[in-house]
Symmetry: C2
């Protein structure tokens, strides 16, 4: 009998603020970071190394130590568990963590502790799919409908979607699975890019990156907005001129506005025929999103900070959104994202997963692909965000071709960092941060800051 | 010039699960705990000891270490600040912490990091009111309307309440302040009690504690419900028989139900003419509370886990509640609670603050009293929860007489723990926990568990 022998954590940070990568209206200087977790086992594998599961929570710098401490506090819930029991009941494992009443008080089901549970739950799914020798998307897509609905915590959902309704939807979708799996393997899954649109980039860099994105095959490009209406109008014109008429432009305000301000601002941008406005206001403000949606012509979207399935349920019930983002590392892991994907299917809302950061592309692509094969059965008018940062630090980085994600073939969920990257970027002892302490004042900026 | 010289934290836990104090439908075995924070200064005081400010975040056991780590991570934002600058701009201080974009990512404005900010913000208010030589309720009540509205972060509120509307409300309430302060000092503020109603208590203990509560002057008693309808019906009958017809009974389901289950259960309890049902479902489910409220006759309430002002705004906008709880240590501190009290006044919703736990009575009484003097100008049909646990550990414990809170006279907010209590209950090194490790198996239970 193999068991979980250790839960190990690391505070890993990348000094992205040095070049204003990732700068937006609310986050001027993020240092993209990962609170990293490894579940170690004593189960042998063909490689000779014992089986492990990897997970992470993405943060943007300060507080990554708190997030790492929250992961560590879950060790007592996991270490000593039987690997077979854990990997064969991932629904029970998820409820075991979210149902701890003392830890639940720290949310409930939100914030640092819920994200930590999500990180460990994702590590368990990574472990289970590695053990099965499959990439996570295929591991999920090959579960039968009853197994899938048993992964979901149905508490608080029954006024919108019941287990029985979900089962019926999945059984309906089961018919075309094999064809969709082939389609996915031959065509990949659509990506959209945010790389050109950070607020800290110059107009020249914006135009150049927009042109390059179109050349690389992207059909949707997203720009950050919300600091200055004048700048936004100018930057959208630059982007439109650079990409031509056949490419969609979306915008993201990163929670910058109150309701009336969002309506006024978006009406001023209406002539750009935008694909969506993302996070116009507080992610908690379901009714605010609904009010904004009633008053503007641009489709409304949110979700990367939506903290659990109960909030997504309400976004759908209130008809507050035209589309949503999901995030692999914000909610309680794969299980809660399955609940959210089932709700989105029920309400007919399209999903454009949030990615970027550290490893979010690597993780969330699996959820989008599993959704296509087994849940929504559609990749029409859908795309996974893509940002070309930090992929080189992962053992199985995403593969992009022609503006599409190619399905991962390596077993697991994709969160494993290269050992050298972990060592160098561990905060504050890694060499990257020791160098930073000495040379920040004279760091050569690759690009001019605005 | 005096400065903040240190931010110190302690993980303090009380072994309340040994006697099932605090047991409810979702929390069977809490160990009431405080993530404790002290702001030290080099400002001399008349006592000879330098001025300090005290705050805490209440948790129920596991995870109190994570909460304590979150408090500690704020040291860099506070240590070195000028005491005069901090205490004369408590609005700016609060926004300084909630506005840190990197920490904000960990919520935003929810969960462990937001509660940590609330703990440090409350410690700053404690410091400021001690420095002014006033109990916090009076310190707030004597601020002028413009000072009060400047304490609030107005972001995300303008579709429900603007700074200007709030200012007008406060100016209208300013007239009777002196009379209300006298009334408060002579009569105190109404309390209601939850001490009799924990699910872990026997029927005999429930009946005895109900009778004692009425004799002590309480006009409202709250019982925990939600595990067994049969038990709830029997316990409500016992309570009603014990208290007679002139005392209100309220019930609290601690988030146990889905929407339809809440409606069914509460309709089965309708004949008891209950004062309110508290937390019938997920605290995140604004629309769920509204749906429940439309379908039952009992007034609906929530708030002790409502994580910020944006959620309260929506509870009011959706007409989801008849009354609310506020909690001194759940949201971003005094500042955010002022925003919530202003919203409640605007929407005409009564406030029954959540208390109990560790120190929550000591803290929240100040907010209710300040509300009466300066904001709502009413204590009709309002009361602060009272639970008779753990007050002996505080340097200025609450004073209750005739079922009413007597206004505190000691300077500050009331979160200071006795030094000996901190030493003995520090986890895991304190003597209480070292004893626990040796003797739990043979601990003599004072009361039989059910």
């Amino acid at each position: 009998m193999a068991t979980i022998t250790a839960l190990e954590t690391r505070d890993v940070r990348f000094p992205t603020s040095r070049h204003l990568d990732g700068s937006d209206a609310m986050n001027p200087d993020p240092d993209y970071s990962a609170a990293y977790v490894v579940l170690r086992t004593d189960e042998p594998t063909a490689s000779g190394e014992p089986l492990c599961g990897y997970g992470l929570v993405f943060t943007i710098g300060r507080g990554n130590d708190v997030q790492t401490a929250a992961l560590q506090t879950l060790a007592g819930h996991v270490v000593g568990m039987d690997v077979e029991a854990l990997t064969s009941d991932l629904g029970g494992f998820s409820r075991h963590l979210t149902g701890d009443s003392q830890l639940r008080w720290l949310g409930p089901e939100k914030g640092v502790m819920h994200m930590a549970i999500g990180g460990v739950v994702n590590a368990a799914w990574d472990l289970a799919s590695r053990r099965a020798g499959q990439p996570l998307w295929r591991f999920i897509a090959e579960m039968n409908p009853a197994q899938l609905v048993d992964c979901v915590d149905w508490r608080y959902l029954s006024d919108a979607l019941t287990r029985e309704e979900a089962l019926a939807m999945l059984e309906e979708a089961a018919a075309g699975r094999a064809e969709r799996m082939s389609e996915l393997e031959s065509r990949g899954y659509p990506a959209y890019t945010t790389s050109p649109g950070w607020l800290g980039y110059s107009d020249e860099k914006l135009a150049r990156l927009c042109r390059e994105a179109v050349e690389e095959g992207y059909r949707t490009i997203k720009l950050k907005v919300g600091l200055s209406l004048e700048d936004d109008l100018r930057r959208l014109q630059i982007a439109r001129d650079a990409v031509g008429p056949g490419v969609d432009l979306a915008v993201d305000a990163n929670q910058r506005w109150d309701v009336a301000e969002a309506v006024e601002w978006m009406n001023a941008l209406a002539s750009y025929d935008l694909a969506w406005i993302e996070e116009p206001t507080s992610p908690d403000d379901v009714l605010g999103h609904a009010a904004i949606r009633r008053s503007i012509s641009t489709p409304v979207s949110t979700g990367e900070h939506t903290h659990n399935r109960v909030m997504f349920k309400q976004l759908f019930q209130a008809e507050a959104v035209d589309l949503i983002q999901i995030d692999a590392a914000r909610v309680g892991g794969v299980n809660e994202n399955l609940a959210i994907l089932l709700l989105a299917r029920k309400f007919g809302v399209r999903v454009f997963p949030h990615a970027g950061g550290v490893g979010l592309c690597e993780l969330v692509q699996h959820l989008a692909m599993a959704d296509f094969v087994a849940i929504s059965a559609s990749m029409e008018d859908r795309a996974v965000e893509y940002v070309d940062h930090l992929h080189e630090h992962f053992t199985a980085p995403v593969r992009i071709a022609g503006g599409r994600y190619l399905p991962p073939t390596e077993p697991g969920m994709g969160a494993e960092l290269r050992a050298q990257s972990v060592e160098e970027h561990t905060y504050p002892s890694g060499i990257i941060w020791r160098e930073d302490a000495q040379t920040t004042a004279t760091t050569d900026m690759k690009e001019p800051a605005r």
